[in-house]
């Protein structure tokens, strides 16, 4: 167990090191310099460009820039090129904005997909199962931005509530209940959109897991003993089918920082994805690289946690 933990930490550190190199190279070797973003701006005189390059070590060779950047990152001193604010502070603020979307989206995904998946596994091949299957294909295939506009049109014309942004602009001194409902309405659409793909995939996965367990011998034994169907389904089958899903708690971790770029920019939601999008447009390399690095850390941590959970949950696995 301990050797497994040690080995995988070493392995993941090496992977992370290479990820940092590759992302750094991709950004810096791509054509176009950050100092040339706005060549028509009269304030961008050659002297300013030179000062800019000196300030951010852009005149140094690439490997020295690399060392400078990651040294700054680990000591928490990285600043955005755009507004000279600390990158980690900026990311933290945006992360707090994205967090409610992520939490509500995950809750919707997990609470909806389990009942749907289990029900379609129990009534396999029936009309419910077939329509749920088709619906999940539909949800996987629908482009998020199109679905977003369909939902916006529907909600705005039927409920007459504003949905763009985190809260209605200039709502200042409204009663508390009204403020609360306003936040709920603004939160609901983006999180439902964030959850659509997840619901479709997860409910299919629940269904196939349930089907696999329902075909086992001990389920037949349980039926033969004359147990009521509810007990067979929910006590014998479901508990064993749940095993792989415990590990999925680790795999949703990267979603924390992913923050959908498209959905956040449609809803003008000041979250992580939108910040990353703005950073890409402004060629704000420190932010792009930091977001990339943090999400790589989360992916690696997620796989690590899911491996560990598997070890804890499934006694058959020994390393």
């Amino acid at each position: 167990m301990l050797s497994f933990i040690g080995r995988s930490i070493v392995q993941k550190t090496i992977t992370l090191f290479f990820v940092s190199i590759v992302s750094f190279l991709i950004i810096h070797l791509a054509p176009g310099k950050p100092s040339q973003v706005d060549p028509l701006n009269p304030k961008f005189t050659p002297e300013v460009v030179e000062r800019f390059q000196k300030e951010f070590h852009l005149d140094k060779p690439l490997y020295i820039q690399y060392i400078y950047f990651y040294h700054d990152l680990f000591t928490g001193k990285t600043v955005s090129w755009k507004d000279n604010q600390s990158v980690l502070k900026k990311i933290w603020e945006r992360f707090l904005n994205s967090l409610p979307l992520f939490v509500v989206g995950t809750l919707i995904t997990w609470t909806l997909s389990f009942p749907v998946g289990i029900r379609s596994a129990i009534f396999r091949g029936g009309i419910y199962d077939r329509s749920a299957t088709f619906l999940s294909y539909l949800l996987i295939s629908i482009p998020g931005f199109f679905f977003a506009y369909v939902l916006i049109i529907f909600v705005v014309t039927h409920f007459h509530v504003p949905v763009i942004g985190m809260e209605t602009f200039g709502i200042g001194d409204a009663p508390a209940t009204y403020l609360f409902m306003d936040r709920i309405w603004h939160l609901l659409l983006p999180s439902v959109l964030g959850a659509t793909g997840g619901i479709a995939v997860l409910s299919r996965y629940v269904r196939s897991q349930m089907l696999e367990v329902e075909g086992q011998d001990y389920i037949r034994t349980a039926r033969a003993k004359g147990l009521p169907p509810e007990q067979v389904h929910y006590k014998h089958a479901l508990r064993n089918a749940l095993l792989p899903f415990v590990t999925m708690f680790g795999l949703i971790l990267p979603g924390l920082i992913g923050g959908s770029v498209i959905i956040e920019s449609i809803f003008s939601w000041p979250g992580m994805g939108r910040m990353a999008y703005e950073a890409i447009l402004a060629r704000d390399y420190p932010i792009i690289l930091t977001v990339n690095f943090v999400s790589a850390v989360l992916v690696l941590a997620g796989t690590f946690i899911s491996d560990l959970l598997y070890l804890v949950v499934d006694p058959r696995i020994r390393l």
Partner: protein
């Protein structure tokens, strides 16, 4: 009991081969899967639309001109008649009506949709083609030659070569040249050493350089792990935003960031197929490695690749539409479904068709690929075949 009856009683039927060939079995299972048939039909329809659309909308005087601006005819709803009084003779649409309406510049949405179909089709197929090629190549090497080791000096040499080239491209000519010259010197040194090596004992440094560094399998799978760490849509967005806008860049970038799944499938298949008897027989017959890989192992390993490629096309089309929607992607005036929708979003309440027509088109095409891919997965699943 005479001899004949005796024979009849103890007659053992000879073992029967499968009654149907694999192709017939495939057709039977495919015929049962109605959703997969639907997917295939929609795909064929889409393919025909895209190809005819390419011919109808390109050329110097296209039949449907997607770039014709008629400012006096803007935001007309679908199926509305063209206002013949206000149009120049060459501006009149071919059918006399706007089948899918016009956008905010009075361009015919039907013509733009036809033009966009070809973009979606090529992006899907070329991107997936690139990713499948890389995936088969990497997965095949990892699966077939996985147990071979790379020597430390070869490993360092390749790293130095890549580093030198990278530095040359990034305008650090001096360091780059030095490293490349060092590589060249090493080639000469190793050639000389091979011919003129008369010493008995090898020096410690040379022994270290000739030791085994990593196995091919480990190396490739670590590369896959590294690639999987990147948030894929964000990475694609970054690279596309930094590169000059063109449709080829999008295809290449999507292809280069989505080969990891294929590599894993192909590697797993190769690992199990490599140990099978027919491969041993092929080796015993003295076939070349190339022939064993491509003629004997590959056809058996291709099924999961096909499935993941079909679903990959769906996700590539979605990614391209998302990029166009965000304003990266194919540069205007060329129409894609993503940027028709993106232009139309400012008019969702006045001109909902600008949102709904491209959105539903993307939905249907992506759905058809997903249905067909999932159907293919079921059909190729050997557990569902009839047993004899």
């Amino acid at each position: 009991m005479d001899k004949k009856d005796f024979r009849k009683d103890f007659y053992i039927e000879p073992p029967l081969g499968p009654k149907r060939t694999r192709m017939q079995e495939f057709q039977r299972l495919f015929g049962q899967n109605r959703l997969a048939i639907l997917g295939l039909l929609i795909f064929i329809l889409f393919f025909c639309c895209a190809v005819t659309g390419l011919f109808l909308t390109s050329g110097s005087r296209p039949i449907f001109d997607p770039a014709m601006v008629r400012l006096q005819e803007k935001l007309r709803p679908p199926l509305s008649k063209a206002n013949l009084d206000s149009l120049q003779p060459e501006e009149v649409p071919v059918l006399g009506i706007y089948l899918m309406g016009t956008d905010d510049l009075g361009r015919d949405v039907f013509a733009r949709m036809l033009q966009g179909a070809w973009v979606s089709l090529t992006v899907g197929f070329v991107a997936v083609g690139i990713s499948v090629l890389i995936g088969i190549f990497m997965g095949g090497i990892a699966g077939y030659f996985g147990q071979h080791y790379i020597r430390t000096d070869h490993f360092l040499f390749t790293l130095a070569l890549i580093l030198g080239t990278g530095l040359m491209i990034a305008n650090f000519t001096f360091i780059g040249t030095v490293i490349l010259l060092l590589c060249l010197a090493y080639i000469f040194y190793s050639l000389l050493a091979r011919h003129g090596s008369t010493e008995k004992e090898t020096p410690a440094l040379k022994a270290m350089l000739h030791s085994n560094a990593v196995s091919v399998d480990t190396l490739i799978m670590r590369i896959v792990d590294i690639m999987l760490c990147f948030p894929s849509f964000f990475l694609i967005l970054t690279v596309v935003a930094l590169l000059p806008a063109s449709i080829y860049n999008i295809m290449i970038v999507i292809g280069l960031t989505s080969w990891m799944g294929t590599t894993r499938f192909v590697r797993a298949e190769f690992l199990s197929l490599r140990e099978q008897d027919f491969v041993a027989a092929a080796k015993a017959l003295g076939l070349s490695t190339f022939r064993i890989i491509f003629r004997h192992i590959m056809p058996n390993a291709i099924a999961p690749v096909l499935v993941s490629a079909t679903i990959g096309i769906a996700s590539a089309i979605l990614t391209e539409a998302g990029l166009s929607f965000l304003g990266f992607g194919v540069p205007p005036p060329h129409a894609t479904w993503g940027n028709i929708l993106s232009n139309g979003k400012n008019f969702i309440f006045d001109a909902p068709w600008l949102t709904f027509i491209p959105g539903i088109a993307i939905l249907i095409v992506v759905l058809s690929f997903n249905l067909f891919g999932e159907g293919l997965r079921d059909i190729l699943n050997p557990k569902l075949r009839e047993r004899y």
